[in-house]
C-alpha cells in the first residue's frame, strides 16, 4: 500500500471522505511527514508546496474575487509511531475572495510525534476565510502539537476558525493564535478539545480589535478527565471606536484533572467594549439531574453533556 493510500485509509477510518481527492473540483494538499503526496489547485487558487529539507513550505493564494464553492482540503499526518512534521504555511486571500478550508491532521499511531504548524494568514478587503482544523489522534498520547497562526484581517474581512481535537489522546497541545482585525472586520476563534490521562492542553488566543467597528469572539470548550491539565488564555484588546469583543471559556473537569482559565481584556478606546465569561467546574448538577430524570445513567448523562459542549 502506498503512503498516500495508507494516509487516506486512516483518514477514512477517522470518518473522512476519501473520495474528495479524486474530485477534480476540489483543491487539496496532502502530506505525510515532510513528503508531499498529492496536491491540486482549482480555478482561482494558486497552491505551491515543497519539502525544504527542514519541513514543508506551502503557499496558497486565493485570487481576487474568487468564491470557491467547495472547501479546500488540507490533509497532514504522520503515519508512523515516531516522526516530525513541520509546516510553514502562507495563505493570502485577495480582495473580495471567499473560501473554506478543512485541515485534517492524522496521527493514528503516534508514540513520539511532533507536529508544528506555523501559519501566516492575510485576509484582504471584503474577503472571508473559514478554517476548520480537525485532529484524529491515536490512543497512545505520544504526540506534541504546536499550531501557531498570525492572522491579519483587512477592512470588512472575515476570518473564522474552529479547532477540534476530541478523538483519541491529545498528548501535548500548544495552540498560539493571534489575530489583528481591521475596520469592520470580524473574527471568531473556536477551540474544542477533550483531554484524557496525562494530556496537557495549552490554548492561547489573542484578538486585537484595531479597526473601527471590528468584532471578535474567542470561544473555548475544553473537557478534561483523569490527570489531564488544561490552561486557556483568551486575550482581547479593544483598540478602536465601536470595537466589540467577547471571550467565552468553558472547561469541564472530571477526576483529578486540573483546569485554568485566564481571560485578559484590554480596552484602549473608550468607545470599545470587551466582555468575558469563564466557567470551570464539574458537570452542571441540574443538567445532570435532568438527563438522569430522562432515564440516563450518571455516566451516560455526563457523556451527553460533555459531547454536547464539544460538539
Amino acid at each position: 500500500m502506498s503512503e498516500l493510500d495508507e494516509l487516506l485509509k486512516s483518514f477514512g477510518e477517522a470518518g473522512g471522505d476519501e473520495s474528495i481527492l479524486a474530485n477534480t473540483d476540489i483543491a487539496h494538499l496532502v502530506a505525510s511527514g515532510h513528503k508531499i503526496l498529492s496536491r491540486k489547485a482549482v480555478k482561482g487558487i494558486e497552491l505551491k508546496a515543497e519539502d525544504t529539507g527542514a519541513g514543508i513550505s506551502a503557499s496558497i493564494r486565493l485570487l481576487e474575487g474568487t468564491h470557491l464553492l467547495n472547501p479546500v482540503h488540507l490533509c497532514f499526518g504522520v503515519l508512523h509511531r515516531s516522526g516530525i512534521q513541520k509546516i510553514n504555511m502562507r495563505i493570502k486571500f485577495e480582495k473580495d475572495s471567499e473560501a473554506s478550508f478543512i485541515a485534517h491532521c492524522i496521527f493514528p499511531k503516534a508514540e513520539k510525534v511532533l507536529h508544528i504548524m506555523d501559519a501566516v494568514i492575510d485576509i484582504g478587503e471584503n474577503a472571508t476565510m473559514r478554517y476548520s482544523e480537525i485532529h484524529y489522534h491515536g490512543i497512545y498520547g505520544g504526540i506534541e502539537v504546536y499550531p501557531k497562526a498570525r492572522v491579519i484581517i483587512g477592512k470588512n474581512g472575515r476570518y473564522f476558525t474552529d479547532f477540534l481535537l476530541i478523538n483519541g489522546r491529545v498528548g501535548k497541545l500548544v495552540i498560539d493564535y493571534g489575530v489583528e482585525v481591521g475596520e469592520n472586520g470580524v473574527t471568531e476563534l473556536i477551540a474544542r478539545v477533550f483531554g484524557h490521562a496525562d494530556d496537557n492542553i495549552s490554548i492561547k488566543d489573542k484578538v486585537a480589535l484595531n479597526g473601527v467597528n471590528s468584532k471578535g469572539l474567542i470561544k473555548t470548550r475544553v473537557a478534561i478527565e483523569n490527570n489531564a491539565r488544561a490552561q486557556v488564555i483568551g486575550v482581547t484588546e479593544g483598540n478602536a471606536r465601536g470595537a466589540r469583543g467577547h471571550v467565552d471559556c468553558m472547561e469541564i473537569v472530571k477526576d483529578d484533572a486540573i483546569a485554568k482559565a485566564i481571560p485578559l481584556v484590554k480596552v484602549s478606546n473608550s468607545l470599545a467594549k470587551v466582555t468575558h465569561e469563564a466557567a470551570i467546574g464539574s458537570v452542571d448538577k441540574k443538567q445532570l439531574e435532568t438527563l438522569m430524570a430522562h432515564g440516563l445513567a450518571p455516566e451516560e448523562a455526563v457523556d451527553v453533556i460533555v459531547r454536547g459542549i464539544l460538539k
Binding site: D284, L291, M292, G295, V304, K311
Partner: protein, 238 residues
C-alpha cells in the same frame, strides 16, 4: 393500589423545618394538583419524590408501588418510571432538540411530541437546546420530552409558568395526554384553570397538607387563604 405514597415525612434544612408530618398519596392514572404559596415547599416536595441530590426525608417514607424509594438515587427512580419537568428547565449546549427528545429511545418520532406541545417540528427539531430558545419554548420542549418517556409518574413543577395565556390549552392537552397514557401526574401550579383539570388537589402550608379534595374545593379554599396550622401567619385557616 396506591402508586405513590408519601408517609408522614419531615424534611429539615439546617434549622429550618420545611415539612413536618406531610402525607400524600397518588393513585395510578390520577392527576393530583398541589397548590400553595411561594416558599411553602412545593418544589421541595417534587425534588424529594424525584430523588434530587441532597433531598432525602429526615423522617418518614416515600413508597412507590408499595416499596420504599427513600434511598434510591434519581436515575434509579427514573428507571422505575418516575420523571419530572423542572419549573425552570436547564439549557444544553450542542444538543439538538431532536437528540434531546430521543435521548432514551432513538426509535420514537420526535415530531409527534413537539406538536403535542404546540411547536412545529420543522422549525424546532434541528435547533439547539441552548440559550437561543426562549423560556416558554424551552418549557414546551421539556414537556414534550417527558411525554415521550411514557412515565408511570410525572411531576410537573409549574408547567404553565412562562407559557402565554393563549397557549394554556397546549399544557392542558399534555396533562390530559399523560392521563390517557395511564400515567399519574403530580401537578404543581398556581393557576386555577390548570388545577381544575386534576382529579384531586391538595394545598400545602407550613410543611403540611392543610386541605385535600376536589380541585374546585381546594382552589376555592386556597383563594380564601384560611389556615390555623401556621397560626394565621400564612393563610389564616379557621
Amino acid at each position: 393500589m396506591v402508586l405513590l405514597e408519601i408517609k408522614d415525612i419531615s424534611y429539615r434544612v439546617k434549622e429550618k423545618e420545611i415539612f413536618s408530618g406531610l402525607s400524600l398519596s397518588v393513585e395510578p392514572g390520577e392527576v393530583h394538583a398541589i397548590l400553595g404559596k411561594n416558599g411553602t415547599g412545593k418544589s421541595t416536595l417534587a425534588y424529594l419524590v424525584m430523588g434530587c441530590e441532597g433531598y432525602i426525608p429526615t423522617t418518614g417514607e416515600i413508597l412507590f408501588d408499595g416499596k420504599s424509594i427513600n434511598h434510591l438515587l434519581l436515575h434509579e427512580r427514573a428507571k422505575l418510571g418516575i420523571t419530572m419537568a423542572w419549573q425552570e428547565p436547564v439549557r444544553f449546549e450542542g444538543i439538538s432538540i431532536r437528540d434531546y427528545l430521543t435521548l432514551k429511545n432513538k426509535e420514537i418520532d420526535p415530531s409527534k411530541y413537539l406538536e403535542m406541545a404546540g411547536l412545529h417540528p420543522v422549525l424546532y427539531l434541528n435547533r439547539m437546546m441552548d440559550c437561543t430558545l426562549s423560556g416558554g419554548e424551552r418549557k414546551r420542549i421539556e414537556l414534550a420530552s417527558v411525554v415521550a418517556l411514557y412515565p408511570r409518574l410525572v411531576i410537573l413543577d409549574e408547567p404553565d409558568s412562562g407559557i402565554d395565556m393563549l397557549s394554556i390549552q397546549d399544557i392542558l392537552n399534555i396533562i390530559t395526554g399523560f392521563k390517557e397514557n395511564g400515567a399519574s401526574v403530580i401537578l404543581i401550579t398556581h393557576r386555577e384553570e390548570i388545577a381544575i383539570i386534576a382529579d384531586r388537589a391538595s394545598e400545602i402550608c407550613n410543611g403540611k397538607i392543610i386541605c385535600s379534595g376536589t380541585p374546585l374545593k381546594v382552589t376555592q379554599y386556597y383563594k380564601t387563604r384560611k389556615c390555623e396550622v401556621c397560626a394565621g401567619e400564612e393563610c389564616s385557616f379557621v
